[in-house]
């Protein structure tokens, strides 16, 4: 009897978890779930997240070219007299600004943002897949539920991506300042 009771309790808990997880909506005070940012029952959100992380990662990896450019630029500011490294007199003129050094840099993250925009449209078309759940979504009395379910995930991804890129930009600027000879600091 006790074992049966435990099984029933377990089933009930599984049910509740499933409802929370699959309905894509969590109530106030409940643990936030990433699924809540996607259309109800949308099963590809993990692949979508992985795709976005991959594209952002690829953009970041390619942005590491910054260090190569910086190294070459700093090297060009010096002359070698014998074994001694001497700062060139015209070093300030030869200096490439941080903006110049990172120009076109973050363009490599464009595929990431494009991917998320496409995903927002994909979420909308999800409501036409297998059934016409779009009819239910368009009948909901609350305003903006349909739009929010399509764009919330991609917007969150974009915000997270923008934050990561912003932090990287700051980090790169710090490195840029550290790498410049004292006489060349802006």
């Amino acid at each position: 009897m006790k074992a049966q009771g435990r099984m029933e309790e377990k089933n009930r808990m599984e049910d509740n978890n499933e409802i929370r997880e699959r309905s894509g909506h969590v109530g106030r005070g409940k643990l936030w779930k990433p699924e809540s940012c996607f259309p109800p029952g949308y099963e590809h959100w993990e692949q979508e997240r992985n795709g976005a992380v991959f594209l952002l990662g690829a953009g970041i990896v390619l942005s590491l070219r910054f260090f190569g450019r910086l190294y070459r630029m700093v090297k060009s500011l010096y002359l070698y007299v014998g074994q001694e490294r001497v700062l060139r007199e015209d070093a300030r003129e030869m200096l490439i600004s941080f903006r110049g050094l990172t120009q076109g840099h973050w363009g490599l993250c464009v595929p990431f943002f494009l991917f998320l925009i496409i995903m927002a449209f994909w979420h909308y078309f999800y409501y036409f897949h297998r059934t016409k759940s779009i009819y239910l979504m368009r009948r909901l009395p609350a305003r903006g539920v349909l739009a929010a379910s399509c764009i919330r995930g991609p917007l969150l991804g974009m915000a997270a991506g923008a934050a990561v890129l912003g932090l990287l930009q700051l980090l790169y600027y710090e490195v840029y300042l550290l790498a410049l000879p004292k006489g060349c600091l802006p």
């Binding site: 109800p40 368009r138 909901l140």
Partner: protein, 249 residues
């Protein structure tokens, strides 16, 4: 009262615009069970979708004197043969979703109907049979807590016993203020279930009678439908005669 005034709907096609509804006038009082009949392409689905605001139209559709908007849309529910549920979700997840968005959700009715039709609650709807999916679609439309329940061929794919059960259950559970507009081809089957019939042909209402009126005139629903649509009972015989008789001669 749901009022439809001068409802017109055009579909654009490469060959020009096609008139799907032309000046439909209809009134539905609360508590009515109305059968909406018409051949394929008569405009039944277009009419239902227009009422729900799922497509643009010309004319006026009023619910108790007000245009249908977000404020009163929850007074309408919809069951369609195309299905409007989320296939990856379980019935329980749907219940949560409906309860979140429709404050009037009828929990008790949901439990009773799920139990009656023996539908598994923990199975994703994509794994249901076509008949079970239809049943679930109708159950959610009935449980939303709407005053006007619109159904578009909801029993396509269900066997006759199943449909029969549904009609009986429907008659048993409906409350006096609940109105049903049922679009179907199964004219003879719903004869005992509906209280009024509306006939559509080429986007126009060509017939609108209560079952009481038909009873008083000693006519069956199918006779009325055949009469309105100008059905020629000797059509098949003549065709067969032409086909076979011609060969014999």
């Amino acid at each position: 009262m749901l009022e439809i005034r001068s409802l017109k709907k055009y579909y654009r096609s490469p060959l020009g615009s096609v008139e799907a509804l032309s000046g439909v006038e209809l009134e539905m009082g609360q508590g009515e069970i109305i059968g909406l009949f018409g051949e394929n392409g008569a405009g039944k689905t277009t009419l239902l979708k227009s009422i729900l605001g799922l497509q643009s139209y010309e004319g006026e559709i009023l619910l108790d004197g007000e245009r249908i908007c977000r404020k009163n849309i929850s007074r309408l529910s919809f069951a369609t043969c195309e299905h409007s549920f989320f296939p990856n979700l379980t019935p329980e997840a749907h219940r949560e979703f409906y309860k979140l968005h429709f404050g009037t959700f009828r929990d008790k009715r949901y439990e009773a109907l799920m139990h009656f039709f023996e539908l598994p609650k923990r199975k994703a709807l994509k794994n249901y049979s076509a008949g079970q999916q239809n049943q679930f679609e109708v159950i959610m439309a009935l449980c939303q807590g709407a005053d006007y329940i619109l159904m578009d061929e909801p029993f396509v794919g269900n066997d006759v016993f199943n449909r029969e059960d549904f009609y009986k259950v429907l008659l048993g559970i409906l409350e006096p203020e609940e109105t049903i507009l049922l679009s179907t081809h199964l004219v003879e089957e719903v004869e005992k279930f509906v209280g009024r019939v509306v006939l559509l042909q080429k986007g126009r209402i060509v017939g609108d009678k209560t079952m009481l009126e038909l009873e008083e005139q000693n006519r069956t629903l199918i006779d009325y439908v055949k009469e309105v649509y100008g059905y020629r009972s000797d059509r098949v015989e003549r065709a067969l005669e032409e086909l076979t008789g011609g060969q014999e001669k």
